[in-house]
Amino acid sequence: MGFFVTTLIFVAIGVIASLCARICCNRGPSANLLHLTLIITATVCCWLMWAIVYIAQMKPLIVPILSEE
């Protein structure tokens, strides 16, 4: 799975979560906007964390060197 596919998965999860929030707890436009903001923020945070770790490992400058036992 490449970078973009997984990113799309994150986007999909975010969209699904927002839809769920919209359907399950629909409490007026301003509350929905808050829920949407929270979900987007959470998704972006999670994606950011994953993306950083993934990109950092794509072209490693150092490789694992096993310790002698």
């Binding site: 997984t6 906007l33 903001t37 945070c45 950011l48 794509m58 060197i65």
Partner: protein, 820 residues
């Protein structure tokens, strides 16, 4: 990427983003319906009354007497509660809804009950005292009776012996004197007096000694130990006591002994030497004891019943008294109008509550049969309204995190919105271990499931805090599980959950694995850190570089979000100066330096370049025109860097200079239009409250300039130091993973290595305690504090003024929390 986060916040209204719009309202209430009106408003709980009598002392106010009455009633209720808890009864917590008394009836009832209770208490105390006295008396009778009997027996024996010796040896050797003595004995017999009573045991030795000394030995004292504890009639305490009998001769000795008895707290009781009278006294005392006992028991039952009936209604009365007291306190804040027929109230209320307040006023007018209705009108003011966020049980804990730093200025963008996600997220970056995350999750789920039970109970300080933050901890643990999966750590152990490791041996024999290392043979591990890194020699260099860069990326993203929020604020308050002279140069400065660094980091990872980023960043300033050489990451890098440095240099004076001048210009223009028609108040209210500080009073140019200078310096230096401050994310997550791996390897694996069950058990226990104590409690606290700091300082100083004041409505619902 992260910049998108700020998106929706500015224009369409969002819960929590801005505090509720408030209005200053004036209520003119007819005096006869004032009490009921305030009662209904307290029920509603959406008005914060202003004190219109601030210059009056509490005693001068209109309703001082009523407050005193309420205070008196509260005192009586405290007395009842005290009595109830002393009687060992518990107050029923469930509120019983019976016919609601009015205050006057309640006052009378409380007075009666108190008088009754006091009388019962006094009586039962009196009875108890005489009962204790009788018990002591009985003891004296018993013990002293024993003395006399034994004394009599020995005296008889002596007499017999004496008589027998006399009859046997009546000879010449019999001394004359002795004969004489026996002869004269009956006629000259001195009547010995006796005093008997009880003395506390610890004083008995001293008592004996003093009596002996005072009478120069002309006394005969006997003591007997009372085995069980005796209740002292005076103090009501249980003490160890001795029964004593003193024999003496003469009036002076008697007086002395009486005084000594008094000094030692020895209770004296009459004692008759006659045996038959003693027996009679004992039966009499026993009879009276029995009688008293039944009386006392009946009294206690009566008292218990009384307290029980008080206890049933206690909560209701207590609530009523507190409500009344708070109503009168509020009434005291209102001022009388000139005719003395109306009360005038001023206060803040959210605009959405207008309808509810008007309803409450109408109901109060109707229910109190008042002829005139209360008048509700909105006042226009330049005063800053209070800040009021409508939170629920989830968001309130996060809002408190923000409020602990400073309450938001009225209608300012609320960092609480983003704190709900970013706070647990930053915590989790430092606390990434899904094993520990699951432990936290279980704990907090336990708290949430038992929420209803705990919220009605009184908890300890620490428990209270944990319980209050249960939803914060819930999100913290969920994010910890996520970051733990990213870090691939479960109690420091990696798992191949998401596919196979990307690394493999270079050849079949795997001979170079410990020298040159493995080689990347497959696709990158799809989710999180590759498990192959765990325990390798190059693990730390790799993770350090990764986590350090990650900290900077996350930090730059969050600081950008902060600056974007300042843009939202400027838009909201229609402050174009802040947009062009603060937001734009700040954005350019931060992103010209650290945004560029972030992009370099990503390019370096993406291309696998060996460029030295420190070198690039340093020589971007020291020698922007130098040749980059192997540090070239993308074409045109040199030009880009020169442009960025120039932009950053320009943005500093841009931040500093134009704003004060523009403000001065605006101020002068305002002054020129002194006689211009007033602006439409409705529309300008928001703008004016915001510009209060500038539009009002003296315009001190130097002050504004110095303020702007400080702001600029703070921002420029802060951009560097705040970015560095985000490295704490790296430091703490490193510390956490190292500590957990130490506990795993040095405790659990070591204990396992001994092949001994006992050592293994000890090892497991030590491991559990270390994990819970150090990792779950202390590390949680420290990561929490660091996340707190990152939000308060690094995030909020980009946009948050935090100089507002909180909305404190007059509400009965809040009464309970306040008083206890």
């Amino acid at each position: 990427m992260a910049e998108r986060r700020g998106g929706g916040g500015c224009c369409p209204p969002m819960d929590l983003m801005r505090s509720e719009p408030m209005q200053l309202v004036q209520l003119i209430i007819p005096a006869e319906s004032a009490h009921l009106t305030i009662d209904y408003l307290g029920e509603l709980g959406l008005v914060q009354f202003k004190d219109l009598n601030a210059e009056k002392s509490p005693f001068q106010r209109t309703y001082a007497t009523q407050i005193r009455r309420c205070g008196e009633m509260a005192r009586k209720l405290r007395f009842f509660r005290d009595q109830i808890s002393r009687a060992g009864l518990s107050l029923p917590t469930g509120s019983v809804s019976e016919a609601v008394l009015n205050l006057d009836d309640l006052e009378i009832k409380l007075g009666e009950l108190e008088a009754e209770l006091v009388e019962i208490n006094a009586n039962s105390e009196k009875l108890q005292r005489s009962y204790n006295e009788l018990v002591e008396y009985k003891l004296v009778l018993q013990k002293a009776g024993e003395f006399f009997q034994s004394a009599q027996r020995s005296a008889e024996a002596q007499q017999r012996e004496y008589a027998s010796s006399q009859s046997a040896e009546e000879s010449l050797e019999t001394p004359l004197l002795a004969d004489q003595e026996t002869v004269t004995d009956p006629s000259k017999q001195v009547k010995l007096g006796s005093i008997s009573g009880l003395v506390p045991r610890e004083k008995s030795m001293a008592f004996e000694r003093i009596i002996f000394r005072a009478t120069r030995g002309n006394v005969f004292l006997r003591q007997a130990v009372v085995e069980e504890l005796v209740t002292d009639p005076l103090s009501g305490e249980k003490v160890e006591k001795n029964v004593f009998v003193v024999f003496f001769s003469g009036e002076r000795a008697k007086n002395k002994i009486l005084k000594i008895c008094e000094a030692f707290g020895a209770n004296r009781y009459p004692f008759n030497e006659d045996l038959s009278k003693q027996a009679q006294a004992i039966t009499e005392v026993s009879g009276r004891l029995l009688e008293l006992k039944t009386t006392i028991d009946a009294g206690l039952v009566h008292r218990g019943n009384l307290l029980q009936s008080i206890g049933e209604q206690f909560e209701q009365w207590n609530l009523l008294v507190r409500r009344e007291k708070s109503i009168y306190h509020t009434l005291n804040m209102l001022s009388f109008d000139v005719t003395k027929k109306c009360l005038v109230a001023e206060g803040w209320s959210p605009i959405f509550a207008t309808k509810q307040i008007q309803d409450a006023l109408q109901r109060a007018t109707y229910d109190s049969n008042s002829q005139v209705g209360a008048i509700f009108r909105v006042l226009h003011t330049r005063e800053a309204p209070p800040t009021y966020f409508r939170t629920n049980k989830v968001t309130s804990a996060f809002q408190e995190i923000v409020d602990a730093y400073g309450v938001a200025k009225y209608q300012e963008a609320n960092p609480g919105v983003f704190t709900i996600v970013t706070f647990p997220f930053l915590f989790a970056v430092m606390f990434g271990d899904w094993g520990h995350g699951i432990c936290l999750l279980v704990t907090t789920l336990f708290l949430i499931i038992r929420e209803r039970k705990y919220s009605s109970e009184k908890l300890g300080d620490i428990m209270e805090m944990t319980f209050g933050g249960r939803y914060v901890i819930l999100l913290m643990s969920l994010f910890s599980i996520y970051t733990g999966l990213i870090y691939n750590e479960f109690f420091s152990l990696p798992f191949e959950l998401f596919g196979r490791s990307a690394y493999a041996c270079r050849d079949a024999s795997c001979s170079e694995a410990t020298t040159v290392g493995l080689i990347k043979a497959r696709d990158t591990y799809p989710f999180g850190v590759d498990p192959a890194w765990h325990g390798t020699r190059s693990e730390l260099p790799f993770l350090n570089s990764l986590k350090m860069k990650m900290s900077i990326l996350i930090g730059v993203a969050q600081m950008n979000l902060g600056i974007i929020l300042s843009f939202c604020n400027a838009l909201f308050f229609r402050n174009s100066i802040n947009v062009w002279c603060q937001f734009v140069p700040e954005m350019i400065f931060l992103n010209g330096l650290f945004g560029y660094l972030s992009i370099l980091i990503i390019i370096k990872w993406w291309t696998g370049s060996q460029a030295d980023l420190y070198h690039v960043m340093i020589y971007m300033f020291l020698g922007p025109t130098d040749d980059l050489g192997e540090n070239q990451l993308f074409p045109g890098q040199k030009t880009t860097q020169i442009v960025l440095v120039l932009l950053a240099l320009i943005s500093v004076p841009w931040m500093l200079i134009p704003k004060p001048f523009l403000l001065k210009l605006e101020h002068d223009r305002h002054h020129g239009h002194s006689y211009a028609p007033l602006q439409d108040t409705e529309e300008s209210l928001l703008v004016e409250t915001n510009q209060d500080s500038h539009g009002h009073g003296e315009f001190e140019f130097s002050e504004i300039f110095v303020h702007q200078l400080i702001h600029t310096i703070e921002f420029v230096l802060g951009a560097v130091s705040n970015t560095a401050s985000y490295l704490r994310l790296w430091a703490l997550s490193l510390a956490h993973s190292e500590l957990s791996s130490v506990f795993y390897e040095k405790v659990l694996l070591l204990a396992w290595g001994f092949n001994n069950v006992i050592i293994l058990i000890v090892g497991i226990i030590v491991f559990i305690f270390a994990t819970v104590g150090v990792l779950l409690v202390m590390e949680t606290l420290s990561a929490f504090l660091h996340a707190l700091r990152l939000h308060w300082v690094e995030f909020q100083n980009k946009f948050y003024e935090g100089d507002g004041y909180k909305f404190h409505p007059f509400s009965f619902a809040l009464l309970n929390d306040e008083e206890d």
